[in-house]
């Protein structure tokens, strides 16, 4: 049966590709500890000074704060909206559920730049540009598909008769959902929330069009500061993001078997 196993050549190629995927990450982390004021790899000497510089820079702190507010806010809002929408769609409580599903999923494949400029035009009309509410709405638009997708996938793997059993035993609809259905779809929702959170935290193409004159989110700040030249403080803040992402991924994998939901 050895014929169906990957050969040495395939294995070597595949492992090379895995390394290729990690290279930029390794480079960024190494650059963050360099003593020199410009990027050098391998780093000259070892210092934590760039981390201190970044974490005491008010511009970066403001940007981190706004990014976290948006990511937490939009994930929570998307969770509420997404679960409700997925539940209604799954139980066919609304007409044309397939059309609505594909509409809710559209931001996954729709060019984000287009979403960005479309919202910019709309916000200029209604005067939302540069407001926190406007940014939050935009981030809900781009994060809600992840929640809906996760919730729909979890619901479809579920035996709905459990919920009906709870109803028969006297629970009202809300209680049955809260005590029976919700815990059962929780792993999927945790995975979806992580995706939503990271998508919000990562977003540039939509956000950059909607920011006000003095607003910056973290990725937009890194994005614009790279245009003016690269220095190790960008590498330092990037390293912090890499560490946070890695930690989140490991924790999510421990809790929910995250990779099953990708």
């Amino acid at each position: 049966m050895s014929d169906e196993k990957p050969g040495h050549l395939t294995t070597a190629l595949a492992l090379a590709v895995v390394v290729f995927l990690q290279v930029p990450v390794i480079v960024v982390v190494l650059a963050a500890f360099s003593r020199t004021a410009y990027l050098t790899i391998p780093p000259q000497g070892l210092t934590f000074a760039w981390f201190g510089k970044v974490l005491s820079d008010p511009d970066y702190l403001d940007a981190i704060r706004l990014s976290l507010i948006l990511a937490v806010g939009s994930t929570v809002l998307s969770l509420g909206l997404g679960i409700a929408a997925a539940y209604a769609l799954f139980r066919r409580l609304v007409p044309a559920s397939e059309a609505i599903t594909s509409f809710l999923m559209a931001p996954l494949v729709f060019p984000s730049v287009v979403i960005g400029v479309a919202l910019l035009q709309y916000y200029s009309l209604v005067g939302l540009r540069g407001s926190l509410a406007g940014l939050l709405v935009a981030h809900v638009v781009i994060t809600v598909p992840y929640i809906v997708r996760a919730a729909l996938a979890s619901l479809s793997g579920l035996d709905m008769s459990v919920e009906e059993a709870a109803r028969v035993l006297g629970a009202d609809g809300v209680t049955a959902f809260r005590l029976v259905t919700l815990p059962l779809i929780k792993p999927g929702l945790v995975a979806g929330s992580l995706f939503a959170f990271i998508t919000s935290l990562d977003n540039v193409p939509v956000t950059i069009f909607l920011l006000g004159a003095r607003q910056q989110t973290l990725p937009v700040l890194i994005f614009t500061s790279v245009e003016h030249g690269v220095d190790p403080s960008v590498a330092a803040i990037s390293t912090l993001l890499i560490a946070a992402t890695g930690l989140a991924l490991v924790l999510a994998e421990r809790w929910t078997g995250f990779h099953r939901f990708v």
Partner: protein, 255 residues
Amino acid sequence: MVPTSFRDYLPGVGIVPGSWTIENYTRILTDDYYREVVWRTLGLGLAVTLLCLVLGYPLAYLIARGPARWRLPLILLVIFPMMLNLVVRSFGWIALLANRGLVNNLLVDLGLIAAPIKLMFNLTGLIIGLTHIYLPFMVLMLVAAIQNVPRDVEAAAATLRSTRLHVFASVTLPLTAPGILAGSILVFVLTISALVTPRMLGGPTYKVMATLIYDEYMQLLDRPSGSALAFALTLVAIAVIWLSSLITKRWAGMA
């Protein structure tokens, strides 16, 4: 957005209210510069898709068919870069590909090249960066596709004295074609609409459609022209997705 794309734009004045023109669209098709950007975007999409496919298939095959204990670490190593901030990953590639970046320094030190070669602000840089960024999507799609191929079919072909390569070419590859198509469409659409990586690795002058839209809106403030481009980009994306669903249906009909 669509109405704006038909408005006239006068530099320094702004959008002419009440005007109606299709010039913003005809310019995309006739103006040399715009045409160049559109072709570059589509070519980039094609190149990145093909590269992702060639690099992604062996990895996906190893994940799906390799030793079971490698599976989880490999999948996590694929997901990790995918979850990582786009700006951070592009920044990593700048450090690698710049004139005084790691790759050039290494090549010079090894004596393979005399002077640094230009790897950034051109097509090479964009292809490398975007391939890296969208490769995980392709790999995950292909893993799902390869897992759906029953091993018995391959084993049967092997019993019938097919060589390994032959089994792969005549059994595995055709059976994973829907997955290949789905992954390719996803990567292509994501690539042609990417803004961050082309901007960071292409700089302000080497443009693709998404970065041109960004500049028309934010730098030139020419919203009509920008929205015409945005609309054109949307049309391309929708056309590609529609075309792929047609192909999938035809395949389903054949089977």
